[in-house]
């Protein structure tokens, strides 16, 4: 019996190899002809002249987010932004009559869960077009799959590896990648050092990188960003980490940075991340010795929730690759505000997440519309959406709330403002208007 057990297993192994060779492809990437559209297709196929009528069709956008892990502070408004934007678009007729829908998966910030959700989504919908991701780790884990299955990924996790790692190519950023962000901010600071430097600081910028020990937290430090800083004559004198927790104590990180002679602190964190540093700088009485700067997420209402005093936020500098709620002159911002008010969202969600996803949905709609115009609805697939995003570039999203440019093989935009908190919450004032950020994508 034992012998036969092994014979059986050996046989099984052989069969397994044969089977895996002829295993069915992950459900085809070529779109099956949408049944409804198929009948009317011939009339419109040759040159899509008039707008097609897609009434009765549904286009689904898939959304990954973290509602229970460390990034939850920003995710909830993110989802609501997407929901409200989609609702508004459907009320005004959808995309040529097709209804837009958002499906959400809570991944708890874990790559493993993200993969599971991805498999579920692609199983439900063999012709998935667009997926929105949020965490850097998730985006990195899924990047190859997006490229293989030709699904456009619009992401808010801006670490460069997801965008330009081997085999990626379908990942598009809602903002500049973190190395670009840090580069842009440091360039601005080095050009205006005399204006912004702490009173007793020297002529040189000495940078301390204080951040979380996570993919997101370390996202700004790449070979390219280091080289760029070196070119600017900026020395990184300290690289310290602290816990991903609201209760993290950054005292030792700050004092180590101070002892190393740092006068600028960069933190690649959000919500309680920058708040911890600002709180501790004030508690230690060292606030006036440092310029504090962070990634775009750091300058947000979510940060205020963790500041001991709102005033502690004053002076924070961050790249700002979008407009803000206070820019009421912009029609895109007005539109987002209308949605926010109409859906009675709580004041705590009046932050970057909501605004950005209203814009993100707008960008998706623009790309989908462009793709349908180009290849027709029946040929609509991820590749078409990908091509649309590249062809449209450069383009404005939500009347200029975002400025996108995916030309030249770049899949993250390179335009950003630099802003500074000057006063109470929401006083995110512009120090430098829209300008090109350095392009620090990894060299293959």
């Amino acid at each position: 019996m034992r012998k036969s057990l092994f014979t059986l297993m050996a046989a099984l192994l052989a069969v397994a190899l044969v089977l895996s060779a002829c295993a069915p492809q992950p459900t085809p990437t070529e779109p099956p002809p949408p049944t409804a559209a198929a009948t009317e297709a011939p009339t419109e196929e040759p040159t899509p002249s008039g707008p097609p009528d897609l009434t009765g069709e549904t286009i689904t956008i898939y959304h990954f987010g973290d509602l229970s892990g460390p990034l939850a502070a920003i995710t909830t408004p993110l989802i609501h932004g997407a929901e409200d934007a989609v609702k508004a678009i459907n009320e005004s007729g959808g995309i040529y009559g097709a209804t837009l829908e958002v499906k959400f998966a809570d991944t708890g910030g874990k790559a493993e869960e993200a993969v599971a959700a991805y498999d579920r989504f692609t199983s439900e919908d063999p012709n998935a077009l667009v997926m929105i991701t949020y965490g850097s780790g998730e985006a990195e884990a899924l990047a190859q799959r997006f490229a293989e299955d030709k699904i456009v990924n619009i992401t808010a996790g801006l670490s460069s590896k997801a965008f330009y790692g081997a085999g990626s190519g379908y990942t598009f950023g809602l903002g500049p990648i973190y190395p670009d962000q840090m580069g842009a901010t440091m360039k601005f600071l080095s050009e205006n050092w005399d204006t912004y430097k702490p009173s007793d600081a020297g002529d040189e910028i000495k940078l301390a990188y204080l951040s979380w020990p996570t993919a997101f937290g370390q996202g700004g430090l790449t070979a390219e960003s280091r080289a760029y800083l070196a070119d600017l004559g900026i020395e990184i004198v300290a690289e310290e980490t602290y816990d991903v927790s609201p209760t993290a104590d950054t005292t030792t990180a700050i004092l180590t940075a101070q002892a190393a002679g740092a006068n600028v602190i960069w933190t690649n964190t959000l919500a309680f991340g920058p708040a911890a540093i600002l709180n501790d700088l004030n508690s230690l009485g060292l606030r006036d010795q440092f310029v504090v700067a962070g990634d775009n997420w750091s300058m947000d209402l979510a940060t205020y929730a963790f500041l001991a005093e709102p005033a502690y936020g004053v002076g924070l500098i961050a790249p700002f690759p979008y407009l803000w709620w206070t820019d009421t002159g912009n029609t895109g911002v007005q539109y987002a505000q209308t949605l926010f008010t109409a859906n009675e969202r709580p004041a705590s969600e009046h932050n970057v997440g909501y605004l950005l996803l209203v814009a993100g949905v707008d960008m998706t709609v623009k790309a989908l519309t462009h793709a349908i115009d180009t290849v027709g609805y029946e040929n609509l697939n991820g590749e078409a959406v990908h091509d649309a995003l590249v062809e449209m570039s450069p383009f404005d999203v939500l009347d200029g709330v975002l400025r996108m440019d995916f030309s030249g093989g770049s899949r993250s935009p390179h335009m950003s403002q630099i802003r500074m908190i000057q006063g109470g919450p929401d006083a995110f004032n512009v120090l430098q208007d829209w300008a090109e950020t350095p392009d620090l994508r990894p060299q293959e």
Binding site: S20, K110, D119, E140, A141, P213
Partner: protein
Amino acid sequence: MGVPRPAGEFDTTYAYDMATIRRNWQWWLLIAFIVSLYALPFYASQSIVSLVNRIAITVIAIQGLNLLTGYTGQISLGQAAFMTTGGYISALLVNLAGWHFLAALPAAALGAGIVGLLFGLPSLRVKGFYLTMSTLAAQFIIPWFTRNIFPDILNGAQGVNVRVPFMFGIEFNSPQKYIYLSLTALVLTTIAAHNISRSRLGRAFIAIRDHDLAAELLGMNLFKYKLQAFFLAAVYAGIAGALAAHNIRHLNSETFNLNNSVMYLGMLVIGGLGSNLGPFFGAFVVEMLIEFATLFGPFFITLFPATAAGAVQALKPLFFGVTLMLFLIFEPRGLAHRWQLLKTAWRLRPFSH
């Protein structure tokens, strides 16, 4: 094997006595089951294939834990850390050194095993709950190493992208293909675990679990056997970690965390400690609970105003924790025990005893 058999059925040969499966129809059932799993990609949807793929990998990790905790009685909270070790070793060998996946996998298993051995060393002096603490330390120290040593290669906290295994001209880049790797590994590890548990080593493990002092008095080298159990558990974790890492295609210090370790322990208890079926039952039931939470969570959660709709992650620990607690109170021997009772009742029908 301790299962009551109908009267009149006796072991007439040694082979029959030692046989795992005694009836022909049982053989056919087992073969049919395995074949149906292998054929899964041909008839099941991708999400089911992906789920079974993940369960298979999880079962391997739990089988290792079963050898250490179920058979030897040493509670380990470090299984996920050893998975991290195995995952990194395999990822680096395949990514950088260009090794063949089939060569990297045993290397990952061995590497994880050696690391597991290191954290089993305190078993020389401490046992029980103190030893649990040592494995908990592994759960912090190993991920720390992946973040802090060789930042050029391991890429610190950002972690590494892991290549898809490429063998025999096939790129295992979808659940439909990957499942063949996982299932085959699972079949092999199951045979191994089954044989270990029936061997001299397995009996030594059980002796240690049931009474370590007595086992020592009988002249057993406790320390040696405990270390072997640690080693084997970590070998299994290494295999599971490598398989999982190549499946996720990305690995960092947080991919397998303390939570995974706790989940594996819980799955093992729910499935049945010290039973070779336990890991299968446990992983299956808990994964089903989690699927249930994913599917029905959003409706359920709308009842709670503070929770954002869609936060199904809230239900997973809740369902899992409550299930585990109920099992501990009402069926501490797990589903495998229930299954035995069921089988016994079936064999002895129509008599209940």
